[in-house]
Symmetry: C2
Subunit: 280 residues, 2 copies
């Protein structure tokens, strides 16, 4: 098991809080320090045992840290890590959990040599937010995508992977662009679809919904500002996957209009095959 003296978590909501719990319950750090711009979030994070120490500036939180993990909404991650890089230990590892990777990795290309950076994205989370939903087992058996560039030191990749594997996660590597293309299809598109499906439903019809509507729209309950940032940062890929999805949807609608039973069955069967390939 790896061990760090002082770990700083920037943003102690659902993900940051779960990281803090996982570090502390597994004894992977001597001290876990949390930063949040909201005092109540910090208080709650300490209450649930996700952090040892609460700081209301990144400078104080990152001071002397060996490991800094940025868990803020994606737009803020580069600024937060630039700030942390000025205060952490010489040789510290900086990493993040952002849902988009190209923009973050590009914006952090000029970090000083005194720190190492390796980006990552745990495919875990929920429509809920805040440290009150934190769970030390959130990352168990989940996939974490590590997205190094050719410039990332290999031992920074190894240490980042080790961090996540020590939480029970499985790690895979992708380059930042490949990550963003894939996640547009597997996460960002589903969010847009779930949101627009919920938006398209008349409130008068809600009493006639059941588990189908409920599951298909679950992620639409996610934080609007968090998702605005993700979708805008990855908008080129999201627009492309949307166009592809819209083409399939129109093909299905045309098949219904033409009463083309073969096309209806073929499209439903294609969806079922992909869904069944994943298991329940």
């Amino acid at each position: 098991m790896p061990h760090w003296k002082r770990v700083t978590i920037i943003g102690v909501g659902l993900i940051g809080g779960s990281i803090g719990l996982a570090l502390r319950k597994r004894g992977l750090a001597d001290e876990v320090v949390g930063y949040s711009r909201r005092a109540e979030t910090l208080t709650k994070a300490r209450e649930i045992g996700a952090i040892d120490t609460a700081c209301d500036t990144i400078a104080a939180a990152a001071n002397g840290a060996q490991l800094v993990i940025a868990c803020a909404p994606v737009r803020w991650i580069p600024d937060h890590l630039h700030e942390a890089a000025r205060h952490c230990c010489e040789g510290a590892l900086l990493t993040d959990v952002g849902s988009t990777k190209q923009a973050i990795v590009a914006a952090l290309g000029d970090l000083p040599d005194r720190v190492r950076f390796c980006a990552a994205h745990p495919l875990a989370g929920s429509e809920k937010s805040g440290p009150q939903f934190a769970d030390e087992q959130l990352f168990e058996r989940r996939v974490v995508v590590i997205t190094p560039t050719p410039a990332t030191p290999s031992e920074a990749v190894a240490e980042t992977s080790q961090l996540w594997r020590s939480f029970g996660a499985e790690t895979v590597q992708r380059d930042p662009a490949g990550h963003d293309r894939a996640l547009a299809a597997t996460s960002h598109l589903p969010h847009v679809i779930a949101s627009m499906l919920a938006a398209a439903t008349s409130p008068a019809d809600l009493p006639l919904t059941a588990t189908g509507w409920r599951d298909t729209t679950r992620v639409a309950g996610g934080d609007v500002e968090l998702w605005r940032q993700i979708l805008v940062e990855n908008s080129d890929n999201v627009v492309q996957t949307l166009e592809h999805f819209e083409t399939l949807l129109k093909r299905f609608r045309d098949a219904l209009v033409r009463d083309d039973q073969a096309a209806i069955v073929q499209l439903l069967a294609q969806g079922k095959a992909n869904r069944d390939a994943l298991g329940s």
Copy 2:
């Protein structure tokens, strides 16, 4: 609690099997008789205790029944109930669980006077099928839509409602057309969307899916033939809800392309508001 001497369930899969279990475990019938065109389904239904008696013809299954519940795929329900009407008791109640109502109610408008018919649709089920997934509690706290017409005898409506309420369900009434319009939005559209999202995802990207994709596509694992029938029977309404959804989706895509932050936030917030209105 109501009580029936002999109840016939036509189609003893997930829904029919769950009805049989609920009737037998609650002692609501002296005998539950099941019909399926598949011998293995009948055997399984008897094994799990969903039926007392298995019959391989509807004539034999419906013979002497006071209550007949058609749980077959929607296209077959009218024929099955016409056949049952020739063999059940004088004055028997015939009902069904079909996911579409207008076509079924219209096709059963000419049932003989010796039987009473009242259509219904329990908003319960899952992407799984077969009696092995049957659950006597499947209908507890679920909504069942009763869809009488002006021609439906009021005591048939009352008896059908009583049946479902004795399983712990809540009943609501809609006319068949109103049911089909609402369910197009709350059930059939989500199914098409989930299927096309699953179909649009490259199998190579499946390892990078998480709970978001998983939940949004869950219903895509449903039986293709069952859903083909539902979507085709309600195709006018489904096409209309699809067009409405596609308009919202295109509005969102345009907002992303134009980087119109206000429109992005407004659409995501509208989806979140509708989703949050339902609870988790």
